[in-house]
C-alpha cells in the first residue's frame, strides 16, 4: 500500500471520514490488478450524484469498480478517496457508511432467521443484542414484513430474501448503498417492489444492472468496457448508445458464426 496512506493517517489522526463531502468519491487514474490480470485501468471519476447506474458486459469490471467504493478491494495503482479519505486508510470504517447488497441473497445472509440477520449490523456497530433486536423489528415493521421476523431465511421467497438483505444493510444507516445486480434472481413483481423501495430511499445509490429500464431514471450512467470507462453521462445519452453497441456486437457474432459454416 502506498506511502500516502501513512501520511494521511498521521495528518488526520483518526479515520476522519467526511460523510458530507461532495463529491463523495474521487478516482484518479485508478487501476486494479488481481492474479496478474488487469481488471481496471485508468479510471478517473468523481461521484456525487444521488442515483448512479452502471452498465457493461460480464467481465467489464463493473463489480470490481463498486467493490473499490467500500474497501472490499483496494486499487493497485492511482488514488481513490471516499468521503475525503484514501480508501486504504479507512478500510475498516467504510463498510458501515457504504452498504453493499450482493447479487445472490443466499450468499449474503449470515444468520438462520430474518430478525437475527437484520439485527447483525447493529451488533456489529457495538449495540446490545436487545437494542439491535428491537431496532431490527421496527425496521421490518416499517417495510411491512414484521411477520417474517422469526422465519428461517432459507424458507423465504427470492424477493423476500433480497428485501431482507437490503434491510440488513439499511439498518446500519449507510450514506451510500451499492447494489450489484440485485434483481438478477427476482421475478417481475419482486423486481418492481424492490425498485420502488430503492426509489424512496434517502441514501445515495450506485447500482449495477443489466435491466436498463431499472436505471433509465437515474441521474448518471457509467458504461464499463474491458476494465475502462467507455462512456459517462445522463441515461438518455448513454443507454441508447450501449444498446446500439450490444446489437452491433450480436450481429458481428452472428456473421462470424455464419461464415464459419454449420457446426
Amino acid at each position: 500500500m502506498g506511502f500516502w496512506k501513512r501520511k494521511t493517517m498521521a495528518k488526520t489522526g483518526q479515520s476522519g471520514l467526511d460523510l458530507t463531502s461532495q463529491p463523495y468519491a474521487v478516482f484518479e487514474d485508478v487501476g486494479l490488478e488481481m492474479n496478474q490480470t488487469e481488471i481496471l485501468q485508468g479510471v478517473s471519476l468523481t461521484l456525487s450524484e444521488q442515483r448512479i447506474g452502471i452498465v457493461g458486459l460480464n467481465g467489464s469490471g463493473k463489480s470490481s469498480l463498486v467493490r473499490l467504493l467500500n474497501g472490499l478491494r483496494l486499487p493497485s495503482t492511482g488514488s481513490l478517496k471516499v468521503f475525503g479519505q484514501p480508501v486504504g486508510a479507512v478500510r475498516g470504517q467504510l463498510p458501515r457508511h457504504v452498504g453493499f447488497v450482493f447479487q445472490n441473497p443466499d450468499h449474503q445472509a449470515i444468520f438462520p432467521t430474518v430478525e437475527e440477520e437484520v439485527a447483525f449490523g447493529l451488533t456489529q456497530l457495538g449495540n446490545s443484542k436487545e437494542d439491535a433486536r428491537v431496532a431490527a423489528r421496527a425496521l421490518l415493521r416499517r417495510y411491512g414484513v414484521e411477520a417474517l421476523a422469526d422465519k428461517p431465511f432459507t424458507g423465504l421467497s427470492e424477493g423476500q430474501k433480497q428485501l431482507v438483505c437490503i434491510l440488513s444493510v439499511l439498518v446500519m444507516d449507510p450514506e451510500i448503498l451499492i447494489l450489484d445486480e440485485p434483481m438478477s434472481s427476482l421475478d417481475g413483481l419482486a423486481t418492481r417492489r424492490i425498485a420502488a423501495l430503492l426509489r424512496d430511499l434517502s441514501q445515495k445509490l450506485v447500482m449495477i444492472s443489466h435491466d436498463l429500464s431499472l436505471i433509465d431514471g437515474f441521474d448518471r450512467i457509467l458504461w464499463m468496457e474491458g476494465g475502462r470507462l467507455k462512456m459517462d453521462g445522463p441515461p438518455d445519452a448513454v443507454l441508447p448508445a450501449y444498446e446500439r453497441d450490444i446489437n452491433l456486437k450480436a450481429q458481428a457474432a452472428a456473421a462470424d458464426q455464419a461464415s464459419a459454416g454449420p457446426l
Partner: protein, 223 residues
Amino acid sequence: MMSLYVPGQSWLHRCPAGVKFVLLCVISAVLLAMHDLWLLGLAFVATLMLYASLGPQGVRQVSALKPLAFLLVILFLFHLMTGDWQQGLRLILHLGSMVLLANLVTITTRLDDMMAALRPIFQPIRFLGLSPSVPALAVALVIRFVPELLRVYNALAEAYRAKTGARGSYRLIAPFMIQALAMSENVAEALSARGGASGFEPAGSARDKNAVGGAAMKEEIPS
C-alpha cells in the same frame, strides 16, 4: 431442512439460554451417574413430557431421535446377543434422553442467544488475539449454511442425473467441494461488507484496517 431452531413463545423459549445450558450439563451428568432402569425410564418419560409441554409442535420434534433409531436398535441387539439386555436398555435410555434434552435446548434457543451464552466460554481465546465472537459466529454460519450446501449438492446431483440418467456418485464430490469453496468466498465477502467477523472498531480507532475480516483480510493488499 431448515435451521434447527423452532420459533415459538413457550416457557422454554423464554428461559434464558445460559440457564438451559447449565441445566443440560447438570442433568446429563446426573443421568450418566444413574444406573437404575426404573429411574432412567422415568427420566426418559419426563423428557418426553417436556416436549409435550411445548404443544403438538413440540411432540413432532421428538423425531430428532429418528436418525439415531437405527444405531440404538443395533446397540440393543448387540447387548441382547451378549446376554445383557438390561445394559442395552440402559444405554438406549441414556443416549435417548440426553440427545432429546440437548435437542430441546437447540430447538427452543435462538442462535444469537446461544452465541451470547457461549461467548464467556470462548473468552480465553482473547489471549490469542481473537475475538470471542468469532467461534460463536462460526457456529451460526454452520447452522445457516448446512441447508444451503445440501441444496448445492442436490443441484449437482440433478444436473448429473439429467446428463447421465444415473444417481449421484462419488464423482460429484470434487465439483461439490469446488462449489462450496466458491460459495465460501462470497460469504466471506458479504461478511466483510458488514464489518467482518469481529465487528466494527469504535470510530477513529487505530486498528481501523483490522476491523475488516473475511475476504478483505485474506486478499493480499496490493502495493
